[in-house]
Amino acid sequence: MDLLATALPALGEAFALILQPQQLLYLTFGVLLGLSVGVFPGLGGIAGLSLVLPFIFGMDPVSGLALMVGLVAVVPTSDTFASVLMGIPGSSASQATVLDGFPLARKGEAARALAAAFISSLFGGLLGATILTFFILIARPLVLAFALPEMLAVTLLGLAMVAILAGRIALKGVAAACLGLLVGTIGEAGHGGSLRMVPESWMFAATGSTTFESYQYLADGIKLVIVGLGIFAIPEIISLLRQNQSIARGAQLGSGWAQGLRDWWANVWLSVRCSSIGVIVGVIPGLGGSVVDWIAYGHTVQTAKDRSQFGSGDIRGVIGPESSNNAKEGGGLVPTLIFGIPGSGSMAVFIGGLALLGYEAGPQLVQNNLDITYTVVWSLALANVLGAGLCIGLSGPIARLTTIRFTLLAPFLFMMIAFAAFQSRQSLGDLVALFAIGLLGIFLRRFDWSRPAFLIGFVLSTQAENFSANANQIAGFKFKQGWAEGLGYVATPIVIVIALLTVVSVYFGIRQSKQIRSEGDVATGSKRAPLIFLLALLAYVGTAWINAYSINMISDKIFPLAVASVGLLALVALLVRMMMAGEGDEIFADREASGEDAEAPHSLWGTLAWFGALLLLTSLLGFVLALALFMVAFFRVRAGLNWVWSLGLTAAGIAFICFLAGMLNRDFPPGLLQSYVNLPWPLT
């Protein structure tokens, strides 16, 4: 009752504050901006917020908040467009949406998938805002209950989702996850700063040399944006381009957006459960939101009765993750507002924006400025309604994109992907890394190694290592004080419950994973190609093992060494099985053997060479000049358009990307040319 007595008046006050024409206008502006930025993969909330930050200073607080919250709240809504329509994970929040959303688009049901996603987002967002309203007053002790052992437990629960997404052969899933974890350890270790998979001698190379640049790039590790784009987007785009079709097979559109709304209603309880997962995971600081959609997806699959359609277009596979990712934003505001600790990069920028308005995030904000806090909550709710409403309205017309011949779309997608990847670190290394990871993604897809398992491993790598090392250190400290102290720290009820959930997930996951084709059926073929790929993986994991072994500091070597050991065991076991099995065994899965890829009119390497050429030209001429050449050549040669159309489309593409970069105040990758000649922007 006490709670209501505090909350209700402040809630009413906040409602009055936000429902002013000026504030609503700013909110709408924020929503529109958030939607526009969110559509582009890899940009997301940080880019959008940085765009408005210069104008926040001096604004009236409620307007400023409405603008910022409106923007942040709808990014996980609009990033769904890229996930469903193009198979490109729009942001880390909608990686899992790709698994079923994109197959639905290929069936011509993009509008249905989008509408179901948006209504789920709306519901999740509203639930998140509702919970935030009351939870924010009592959350402090609950959030504090999540210490390092608890966070480690949640991380392991996330890793357990590998079991269900492992694919037909569980060992391949394990190996893929280990590979993801290992790629996540590249660079400077969090604890002692030892270099992993980067030769120390590179650090001493001359300024400006390629080696030193590579060192500077790799020392910080490879960023999630690059891995997400490389593992999912590039393989899909290349595959579609080879088939020379539209995304929707036969350019036919099936059921529309109204069906999507009905689908959501039929699975409303699923949506409730996944939203709750989103709020809970969002509330825990330090965990980050990138795992929440996978946990939601895993939950969706495990609780479904008929699992045969997952991975080839089950609408529930869209509803689950999308319900969770907007709910996460509401949950994520709890630690952001009451502890001043951002749950994600965009929340960190949001705290900076709050400071520009004269408020410091922290316990004082909730105690002394409850009305301001609730303004945030109301803005969140309103922004979700506005954003989802707009998106549902747009989903029908936008779904028509899937009927366009893909050859005409591809250059624009390459442009967007390369630009987005470059935003990660603004180094040419971004493009090299994108190409390398893209190549890996193409082979993982071709030989049916679980790409979701790889991605989950990568996403959780840093936190799995840090949480386990830190929890271990503190537990050792507590056990020194006494057994009761130590056990009280490690074996809390929360840890035990999450650990049980993890065990149950793994057990059922392994039993069920045989029925789940998270990426559709794959034919089998001859032995040679799959064997060569396996040996290549073995070589990498072996090198990583040796590299980890040679590190001096125990704290920096133990994690990569352990993961590489497990990975080696899994790969060797697979190798043995390959030697025993005969041709046609499922272990020799190969998309080039038969099926869509094998029958495609264009070859893999020829198609990939186009993308490679864009990157190579960029390193010579800089991005904009390279892009112009690439697009004209592509439209003329590959798409067979006449000169007028080729030049026109190229000009449109260049104009668009320059507008975007100009608005966001971003640069383009420079090439060799730019180091000799000073060119005006955007050619720099």
């Binding site: 940080i46 200073f57 002692g192 910080d220 330090g286 001043g340 900076g352 004269g358 922290g362």
Partner: protein, 361 residues
């Protein structure tokens, strides 16, 4: 145009290119305020505070945008800035550094390819830090004397021994405390959460974070302020932090504690790195080769910012009550913050190697 005016115009053009004093005019231009960090974190906050104010104060009111160039512990951005020249940028690029940029420079990190003395400082912003304890540990203090803590076991969340956390780490050591640092946390906020959860039993925060997030803990009795790192007076001596005049400094605590000396190589090293990390924490630079008139124009613009009627009000919550120095003051701070006696450096390098196995070749 008559011949006469043409000659006069040509004459002006010649004097201008000869590099005589000019007026900096940035109208219609965009100034990139580059920081070698990501969008989250203290430096981003600091840069975003100054950017709009600078935009109003600079001649021609250019748009000032903060650009983020994170990487390799901020050395990547600093190496990039080292390659910038006045001729190429003409006042449209300024660079904001932090203690994290100075520490690798001071420690002789091989990744450092930049030289502070090449650059032109136009602003130096200080901050402070406050250490605090749980009540049970604070009870063991005898006034200023901290020898009661010597027998206790401490655990502390730290970002790494070569970062700003070097300053408190050395302070704990000098007081004879047995502190086990848990390395690898992401920010000081995470360290504070560990303290609140009872996983850590000692912590420190920089001033603004302390004001916003630790003061409530002090009020409800779950944390006790212990000491500040102090501030510098005009003579370069350590005095009480003006933001926290009631909290003693580490210098006072050290003097009152047996075994801790405010002279000798440990103290000199601590003081040198404390100055680099706190009172001289953040600075704005123009690239190498910048002419004096451009440095003066920036200095004047920053003076205008500092002289704003509302500056005290808007800066207090975001920067704390600390000197924001331009001109000579900034140059002195730069010297204090980037020059460490060779013995002090050697002491720290040996200590890091011995206690934490961190090698800085």
């Amino acid at each position: 145009m008559t011949i006469k005016t043409a000659i006069v115009a040509a004459g002006f053009a010649v004097t201008a290119t000869l590099g005589a004093a000019q007026d900096l005019d940035l109208s219609g231009k965009t100034v990139d305020y580059v920081i070698p960090f990501s969008e989250s974190g203290g430096s981003a906050k600091w840069a975003n505070f100054y950017a709009p104010l600078l935009s109003e104060a600079l001649p021609g009111n250019p748009t000032v945008v903060v650009k983020y160039m994170p990487g390799a512990g901020s050395t990547k951005g600093a190496n990039w800035f080292q390659a910038q020249t006045w001729e190429d940028t003409e006042g449209t690029v300024i660079f904001g550094t932090s203690g994290s940029t100075q520490f690798p420079y001071l420690l002789g990190d091989p990744r450092v390819r930049y030289e502070y003395s090449d650059w032109n400082v136009v602003l130096a912003s200080g901050t402070g830090g406050v250490a605090y304890l749980p009540p049970a540990m604070a009870e063991k203090l005898d006034g200023l004397d901290a020898s009661g803590l010597a027998g206790e076991d401490f655990i502390w969340g730290s970002q790494g021994a070569t970062r700003l956390d070097l300053v408190p780490l050395l302070a704990w050591k000098m007081l004879g405390m047995n502190v086990e640092p848990v390395f690898g946390i992401k920010g000081r906020g995470d360290g504070r959460l560990m303290f609140e959860r009872g996983e850590a039993n000692v912590d420190y925060q920089t001033s603004s974070a302390y004001l916003a997030n630790v003061t409530p803990l002090v009020e409800n009795g779950s944390a006790v302020p212990w000491m500040t790192w102090g501030a510098l007076d005009e003579n370069g001596d350590i005095v009480r932090d003006p933001t926290f005049p009631d909290i003693p400094t580490f210098k006072e605590v050290c003097e009152a504690t047996e075994g801790c000396n405010t002279s000798g190589e440990a103290w000199d090293a601590w003081k040198a790195f404390m100055i680099a990390g706190f009172p001289a924490q953040k600075m704005i630079f123009l690239p190498k080769g910048s002419p004096d008139w451009a440095v003066d124009a920036y200095t004047e613009a920053l003076n205008k910012v500092l002289a704003r009627d509302d500056f005290a009000e808007i800066s207090e919550a975001r920067l704390g009550v600390y000197p924001q120095m331009t001109g000579k003051g900034a140059k002195n701070t730069l010297t204090l913050g980037t020059q460490v006696p060779a013995e002090a450096k050697a002491f720290v390098v040996d200590w890091l190697q011995e206690d934490y196995g961190v090698s800085l070749k």
